[in-house]
């Protein structure tokens, strides 16, 4: 009996929480113009609750009030929503696949346009630059690295990463089939390493909102890793449409390790190049 009662209360609270979150998201659109409604709900819930906790508040409604009145809190919330977990040569085999399966095909293009969607602090964009440099085609490549978060883009532009992650990055680089010595690309300063500026040369960092912004070019390669996981099915399909429209025919698209093309509306428009590395080629 009490158990049922507890359960009922729990459900009730959950219901309230859900409404609060929905209202909160609505408020964010109305006031700040950010639309997070189609983000994965559990993710939003955790992040919002995290912010509630960090702000020492008691409810999501309270957070709503604070966010609406204090743009600094909004900034912090945005930071919460942007999970900037990335590595250089993250999932090395992915980069190896790019090197062995994609580069040979695009090598002879007169110009290669690459879009890194959700580039975060730029690690993967720089990884791609290194890879292209080693394949001798960096000069004719343009890497468009976009993210929703402007601050993180500023960070990305500095090409400066903490020293402590470099051991991992070096291992990744080697596993991804790096052809030179990784140390050729950076210089250690204090507790940081700065990557050489020539890598930055053909990378354009720009803000782009996948939810509201349109396609801005046609690309030969699109890298969109661990972006879809934050979206719900609707938004996933919407973004897939955007990426599909932005990808040239026979262009390549790479997704995150745990993402897939199969259940999307565009599943049959792509051919699997590498199943485990989630590398696809647009075929229609």
């Amino acid at each position: 009996m009490t158990l049922n009662e507890d359960e009922r209360i729990r459900l009730h609270l959950e219901e309230i929480e859900k409404i609060e979150i929905e209202l909160f998201l609505e408020a964010l659109i109305r006031f700040y113009g950010y639309d997070f409604r189609n983000y994965a709900f559990p993710f939003l819930k955790r992040r919002i609750k995290h912010r509630v906790q960090q702000e020492h508040l008691t409810s999501i409604s309270a957070l709503q009030e604070k966010v609406l009145r204090d743009s600094e809190t909004m900034k912090r919330l945005l930071t919460d929503f942007s999970i900037n977990v990335t590595e250089m040569f993250r999932d090395p085999s992915f980069f190896n696949s790019i090197r062995t399966k994609v580069i040979p095909i695009v090598k002879n293009f007169s110009e290669i346009k690459i879009w890194h969607v959700g580039c975060s602090s730029g690690e993967e964009a720089y990884s791609m630059a290194i890879l292209l440099y080693e394949e001798g085609i960096y000069e004719k490549c343009r890497i468009f690295a976009t993210d929703l978060n402007n601050d993180i883009l500023e960070k990305a532009k500095n090409a400066t990463f903490a020293l402590d992650v470099m051991q991992l990055y070096t291992k990744n680089y080697l596993e991804a089939g790096g052809k030179r010595s990784f140390s050729e690309y950076y210089k250690a300063v204090d507790e940081k390493v700065i990557f050489h500026s020539f890598l930055r040369k053909n990378i354009v960092f720009a803000q782009h909102n996948l939810v509201t912004d349109q396609s801005f070019n046609e690309f030969d390669i699109i890298i969109c890793r661990n972006v879809f996981i934050y979206f719900n099915r609707n938004l996933q399909n919407q973004v897939h449409k955007l990426l599909y429209d932005s990808l040239s025919l026979s262009g390549f698209i790479g997704l995150g390790k745990r993402e897939g093309m199969k259940f999307t509306n565009y599943g049959n428009c792509y051919r699997e190049i590498d199943a485990s590395d989630k590398l696809y080629q647009k075929i229609k």
Binding site: L163, K179, S183, V193
Partner: protein, 909 residues
Amino acid sequence: MKFKTKLYMSIGFLWLFILIIAVILLNMLEQTTVKMNEVVNDLNERIEMAAVMKNETSQIGLELGLMASDRNDEIHINAEDDWEDSQMKLQKAMESLEQRDKTEKAQELIATYRTLYQTYQNLGDEALAAKNRNKQVEFPASYWKNAEINRQRMIQIADLLCVLEKQTLKNELFRTKDTYNWAVTMIYVYLAIALLIGVGFTFWIIRSLTINLNKVTSVMKQATTSDFESMPRINLSAKGELGEIAAAFNKMADALEKHSFREKDLKEAAEAESWLNGKIAEIATIYPEVESVQELADLFITNLVPMAGASSGIFYLKELEEGEHYFKKISSYAVLNDSDNHRRYRFGESLVGQCALEKRPIILNDVPADYFKIGSGMGASLPKNIIILPVKGVDEVLAVIEIASLETYNPLQLKLFEAAVDNIGIKINQILNHIKVEKLLQESQTLTEELQVQSEELQLQQEELRTTNEKLEEQYDTLKHKNEEIEKVRGALEEKAQQLEISSQYKSEFLANMSHELRTPLNSLLILAKILSDNMDGNLTSKQEEYIRTIYSSGKDLLHLITDVLDLAKVESGTLDINCKEIELNDVLEYIRKQFSPLAEQKQIQFSIEMDDRLPDIFYTDDLRLQQILKNLLSNAFKFTEAGSVFLKIEKVIKEIYENHSTEKTQFKPMLSFSVVDTGIGIDQDKLKVIFEAFQQADGTTSRKYGGTGLGLSISREIAHSLDGFIEVSSVKGKGSSFTLYVPLESESHNGKYLAMEEAAISLYDTPNTKIEPISEPAMPNLKDKKILIVDDDIRNLYALTVALEMYEMEIIVAENGREGITVLQENPDTDLILMDIMMPEMDGFDAMRQIRRMPEFFEKPIIALTAKAMKRSREECLEAGATDYISKPINIEQLLSLMQVWLYRKEN
């Protein structure tokens, strides 16, 4: 009759017939031969007898003569015997001839002969008798003559007989020949007859055999051309093999007929089956690609109904709504008034529900008139038959199908329905399962993605936590450090205070008093002068205003002087207050800029502030004291510069510090340097030391020209010391001076007492080769005190690397080949990093790395391979051998240092 028997009989009969003929012929031949022999023998005997008669007749003449001639000799005596003998012979021959030859002529001759013979015998007997009476008797000639004539006749007759007999023989031989000819003729005749009979018989036999055989054959021939349903029969009364064959054939025909009937049945059944299968297959082909039940239902019902020759159909699918199963109409074919009233049924509700409940088909035969109509544009009619079929999944009804027809369903149609329904059940199940699997897969995909999100969030949180942790730790360390410092400072202060108390009591008191005494009136003086200079009432002339401003500025100078004196005293007595805190460099510089820009403009001197771009925004010092020193230095610079430029340059440097006056023990520290460089009058080398002494100026005369107390530099020096820094100077007379203030970048203990060695400071202009090498790079704390093992066989490389790395305070140990490298490493297990050349004698880098990796204690030790020009193969081999990273020769020191920092980085726990 049996065929065998017949054959045996016919051939046996032929053989017997031939035998009989042979016997007859042989017999005939023998008879002929015997008779001929008899005849010939008989005739020969008769010829012989006739011959004997002739001979004896001749004989008796002689003998009679002899007997008649009486002579006593032997011949005569014998004559009588001979006579007798001949008489007997004659008699005998005559008699046997008589007996044998019964022919009339012969009998006649013989009778004649006999008569003659008897006559002759009588004559002889007379003669003999005469003789016996008279031996010498002479017989008349007549007698003889008679006798002779008689005998002659006898001979004639005998001769005749002989001829006769010979003739008879001849005749007989002719007759025998005839007989032989006849016999031959007879043989021919016989053979001809036998041949005829044999041929006839053979024909008969063959005919009697072939007739039946032909009969059988022709029937059999007929059988092959006819179908196997009505086979001809062989009507054969004959027994035996053919009869059996016929019987067997008839049996076979029976069997064949039966078989073909059965076959026909089976064939019909098979045709029906194949039609059914064909239809089922056709149905099956319509849905392999189908992925939704709706699509399947549409396809199924629109295909099945026309295929089965039915007219109308509905497909109901089981659906779960509000916890209850319904059979909902999802597709139909040619259904009239397709209204909503029969859209869904529960289990047991209506025939549809009932069918689902019972899990078996329901057939309606006599559909009532108002039940349901099948219609087209032209009209509508009642269906004759309606079948309702359940579509079964594994053990439940998944759907129900209702099909109506204008005709009665035949069993084949029913079968088709059942089979089709069976098939579709499987497919529906498959689709439902597929949908379920798809859903599950999607869910799992969502979950996987969620997992990734969580893992990333977690990673982020971990990162945040770690950062927070590090910050906290840092703060804790700083706090601890500060506490210690405070403790030390406190101790030092106490000590100083005591000393001061003892040694400088009077001085302090005096100074304090004096400064107070001096400052109080001076302050009021200044305030009043200020008020006056404002000329509120406007009753002062410009001249007066000028005076008052001079009073004010002089007073201010005086106040500064007093403050300076006080400061100097305080510094010297150790009572100067230093309040270190986090300050923003920009604030300090802004202040300086504000202070001196107007002055520079006024003096038309170029003034600039240059900043190294790696400067920290914030550092730890006493801002007021720092400002004081900078102000002093800059004031001096401006003071002694008539034309040209003054600039302040701020840099981050590593400075060698001599600790506690010992030249041995030095320390490198990161410091901020503030260099004030001017193009002023400069200072003589020998004056460089003097200028820091209180109340001293380089040139006694300068004071006159430039003014000033000469306290500025000494105070600055002292304050710099208080800030754990120092001031260096270098100058070339007439060209300009450079004063550089060094303050530590990090707060140091007050107790440290690092002494700047002005003596050691080398002029920027004079001697560029300095011992204290300003390092343009920031410090590399990660590298300091790290133990590095370099394994290389090239002494020059070893030397170059050692020198380069020792500059960064690393401890270097070396080995000249792999083997030695391992030994050295084992002796120095605290080695932090190994630089390993590849091409070496004795043991190359690959082997050395492999061996090192085999030692558990060095399993994770960073080994940097030094490869000759990055070749892919050697690169891969390096990694395989256990290298952590590699760098290609020729080695770029900066790259190597960066790389070493990466691999020597250790997170403090």
